[in-house]
């Protein structure tokens, strides 16, 4: 019995030392990467294609830790303050071997169609707050899962803030078939990107009867205002339907996508 007790004692001591060493090294390993600056996050690069805004964030990890890092998942989410998820993006890396390094890019994609389909068009016209969530999960030594997550509230500037149309004069005859109305179309671009595209403005009366339209190219820099005169032509046969108030339908088309919205005028 004495031998078995002694063997058990030695086994217990060796296992304790091994377990304690593994635990300390495994938990220190990711901390070492942070302290040594072996994790680098590049500056975000925005791009537009297929009606989608893509923000690419390059990142670099040099695994100078004691163990492999496996099942690395970088998840980001973009949502509005009411909890509606606009976009969620995931980047996965299967394994970063000890001593190995990776260069990856995490892409956050926000489709204009997603914004429209999720009733988030108010973000186009009202300044608000965007909730950005980020989470990084991985396994150390293929055994210990660790996860770090955070969320940040970022102020959002609307690209078509406070759109309005002000009719300047009563309709005047333009030619034998049309009347013209001078108006001013205005909005502020509070968004971080420039607006450049074709705007089609259709004017309806209170009974939703079509009166006339204006089509023009617009370009508004980020942080700039748009306040330009527009001339709306109304067919002579429809002029009796004009009452000075109603609804304006706006159809804006750019490389970012197509946006439609309506707002009242003459209130």
């Amino acid at each position: 019995m004495k031998q078995s007790i002694r063997a058990l004692g030695w086994a217990s001591k060796i296992l304790w030392i091994a377990a304690a060493s593994f635990m300390i090294m495994a938990l220190y390993s990711p901390l070492k990467l942070v302290l040594e600056g072996q994790i680098e996050i590049g500056s975000p690069q925005p791009s537009f294609s297929n009606q989608t805004i893509t923000i690419s964030i390059p990142f670099f990890i040099n695994n100078t830790g004691f163990f492999d890092i496996s099942d690395l998942n970088v998840i980001t989410s973009v949502g509005d303050p009411n909890g509606t998820l606009i976009s969620e993006s995931t980047t996965s890396v299967k394994n970063i071997q000890r001593g190995g390094r990776i260069n990856e890019t995490h892409a956050i994609s926000i489709g204009i169609n997603d914004v429209v389909s999720k009733n988030l068009t108010y973000l186009l016209f009202e300044d608000s707050v965007i909730v950005l969530g980020g989470s990084v999960g991985f396994r150390i030594a293929h055994v210990i899962p660790l996860q770090a997550s955070t969320s940040v509230n970022m102020s959002w500037g609307a690209p078509f803030y406070h759109p309005s149309i002000r009719l300047m004069d009563l309709p005047e005859p333009y030619n034998s078939t049309h009347y013209e109305i001078s108006a001013r179309l205005s909005f502020e671009n509070h968004s971080p990107f420039d607006i450049d595209g074709t705007l089609r403005l259709e004017v309806f009366n209170e009974k939703k009867e079509f009166l006339g339209l204006w089509i023009g190219e617009i370009r508004v820099l980020s942080g700039g205002d748009y306040d330009e005169p527009v001339t709306i032509f109304i067919p002579s046969v429809s002029i009796f339907m004009f009452s000075g108030r109603g609804e304006a339908h706006v159809h804006f088309e750019s490389f970012m996508g197509i946006i439609d919205w309506r707002f009242p005028y003459g209130q």
Binding site: A19, L31, L146, Q147, S149
Partner: protein, 159 residues
């Protein structure tokens, strides 16, 4: 009644046990409290201040206290059956402590980034490590039971 000749080796044994208990207790205090505190202090740098989350600081004291207490009492009662009882007690208390301290294997903590309104939530799944720690304590428990049995068997043989 204990005569003078019998009390001399007993006193010697008590002094020896007390000395050994004090020495082992100090070594354990060094290993379980002073060394981790020094390591954590060494990790901190002006660029990246590192501090143990406040909610875990008392657990380090408690762990150190449990280890030091049981080391001291098992050495003090060396040569008696109480030594093995305390060994069994240590294994049981440590098992309960690990389950409590590691929150059943899921550790969470929030780190506030200094100077920024940014908080990072850290979640660690240490269930595998907790299982290893419990198994090691079960091993210690088994060893203490065997030692106690052996001790009693020897006592019966000598009487």
């Amino acid at each position: 009644m204990v005569n003078e000749e019998d009390s001399k080796p007993l006193l010697k044994k008590i002094i020896l046990n007390a000395t050994r208990a004090a020495l082992k207790g100090f070594i354990m205090l060094l290993l379980t409290y002073l060394l981790p505190t020094l390591i954590i202090g060494a990790l901190a740098s002006p660029d990246m201040p590192f501090e143990m989350p406040l909610e875990y600081t008392p657990l380090v004291y408690i762990f150190s206290a449990i280890v030091v207490f049981f080391t001291v009492v098992t050495e003090l009662f060396s040569g008696t059956i109480l030594r093995y009882a305390f060994s069994v007690g240590r294994a049981l208390v440590l098992m309960m402590f690990f389950i409590y301290a590691l929150n059943g294997g899921i550790l969470t903590s929030t780190i506030q980034i200094p100077g920024q309104q940014l908080a990072i939530q850290i979640l660690a799944n240490l269930k595998a490590l907790l299982a290893v720690l419990i198994l090691l304590n079960v091993l210690g428990l088994a060893k203490s039971m065997l030692e106690a049995t052996n001790f009693l068997a020897r006592k019966v043989e000598t009487t």
